[in-house]
């Protein structure tokens, strides 16, 4: 008497087109194509290939979904889940791929005459367990893929919200917006230091006007950034420390061993002087020419 695995493999073998057709129709019913993210032809190929791998696995490894023989099945399923997750499918939509295969297999089993009730029950149970486990696998892979997306987006947000700006030759500004957590600070620090190297900056102005609160940890992070820049031969000025923050830092006993100025403008003025420059008023002919340029720009 054939075991459950052999029966399932034979079912797939003999009733492939019927199973496939039913499975596809159930997936479509569940809305697999409605979102427009995947085309019917693609879905058919995915389903047919998956069915084939499943059959092979059954022959070689039986009904245990964790068996080594089913590794290709699990891999393929992981790939499909991952791509669905990245495309924006919902977890249910992704899991439906697996779960909707149950019915067609049960139906095929029914049509296949000549099995006693006990054996049929055993096969149905085997199919159920097998596909349930695969269904859980899709959920896990889906979850992890979504987490990857979140991490990547966090990094992008960090990049966007802390651009390093060149104010003048040798002078950089780093306007920080929002709170500085460990990971973000790490990223900001690396970005600033690399930019110092790339532009040959002598001074970096870190403006924290946009930082709502500075706790001990944030202050430490800032300090580390300043120390690292100094080790590389660049100096830092911190600007935009609001009165409340100054008070908090004193109360917390934080010592920021670095020059700090109230505004970015003040810090810029110092930076210019330190790099041997000054800003002076235009005189005579040059002044006249500049006035004319301004008038033209205003459309007069």
């Amino acid at each position: 008497m054939a075991g459950a695995a052999e029966i399932i493999a034979r079912l797939i073998d003999q009733h492939q087109s019927a199973i496939l057709a039913e499975w596809l129709s159930l997936q479509k019913e569940a809305g697999a194509l409605s979102t427009g993210r995947i085309r019917e032809a693609e879905l058919e190929v995915q389903s047919r290939e998956f069915l084939g791998l499943l059959r092979e696995g059954m022959i070689k490894g039986g009904v245990d979904a964790g068996h080594a023989a089913h590794e290709k099945v699990r891999e393929r399923l992981s790939e499909i889940s991952r791509s669905r997750a990245l495309q924006g499918f919902s977890p249910s939509e992704t899991a439906t791929f697996v779960f909707s295969l149950k019915q067609p297999l049960f139906n095929a089993l029914n049509r296949d005459a000549g099995h006693d009730a006990k054996l049929m029950a055993a096969v149905i149970w085997a199919i159920t367990l097998f596909l349930d486990e695969l269904g859980l696998l899709t959920m896990e892979v889906f979850q992890k893929s979504r987490e990857e997306v979140i991490v990547r987006q966090q990094r992008e947000i960090a990049e966007l919200s802390t651009p390093v700006v060149k104010l003048w030759d040798g002078v950089l500004a780093l306007p920080v917006i929002g709170t500085l957590d460990s990971e973000r600070t790490q990223f900001v620090m690396e970005n600033l230091l690399q930019t110092i190297v790339d532009t040959g900056a002598e001074i970096a102005i870190i403006d924290i006007t946009g930082v709502p609160t500075v706790d001990t940890l944030t202050a430490q992070h800032l300090l580390k950034t300043v120390q690292a820049a100094r080790l590389m031969g660049a100096d830092c000025i911190i600007s935009g420390i609001r009165p409340q923050i100054a008070q908090t830092m004193v109360h917390l006993g934080v010592e920021l061993n670095v020059v700090s100025k109230a505004t970015l403008a003040d810090a810029f003025a110092i930076a210019l002087r330190r790099t041997g420059r000054t800003v002076s008023r235009l005189k005579g002919a040059e002044a006249e020419a500049a006035k004319k340029e301004a008038a033209v720009a205003r459309g007069e």
Binding site: K144, E183, Q186, E190
Partner: protein
């Protein structure tokens, strides 16, 4: 948690410290660590390898690439049969002030790693283990 790769390095001379650094770099790259994290773990390895020679009378390093679910990491274990450390807390707190003491090796290595553990018995030896995971 699985160990995907293990390397052992004997630490007897300062050339071995260089060898440890190079090997740890290879493993750190294999674990997919970022450049900064690679630098941190290799530097920590250098400190601990030196300690093994300077205070442990030589020993052995076991370098492993770990895989825990989906994340990868590097675990380094330095073991010696030296005099051991009487006061571990003190050793961890010591600053870079020269002249006696265990310098910055231990404390520094701990700060550079995600996980740190140390076993030491006076007269028997010391075993220090650090792990750095891919962020």
């Amino acid at each position: 948690m699985a160990t995907k790769r293990t390397e052992r390095v004997d630490i007897r001379s300062s050339e071995d410290v260089v060898r440890v650094r190079q090997q740890v770099r290879v493993l750190a790259v294999e674990a997919g660590l970022s450049l900064v994290d690679q630098t941190k773990i290799v530097t920590a390895a250098s400190e601990l390898a030196r300690n093994t020679i300077d205070y442990g009378g030589g020993g052995e390093a076991m370098l492993e690439v770990l895989e825990d679910g989906r994340r990868r990491g590097v675990r380094l274990t330095f073991a010696d049969q030296g005099p051991g450390i009487a006061d571990i807390e003190q050793a961890l707190r010591d600053g870079f002030t020269s002249g006696g003491g265990l310098g910055l090796g231990l404390g520094g290595a701990r700060r550079l790693a995600n996980e740190f553990s140390i076993e030491s018995t006076v007269g028997v030896g010391t075993k220090v283990s650090i792990t750095r995971w891919k962020a």
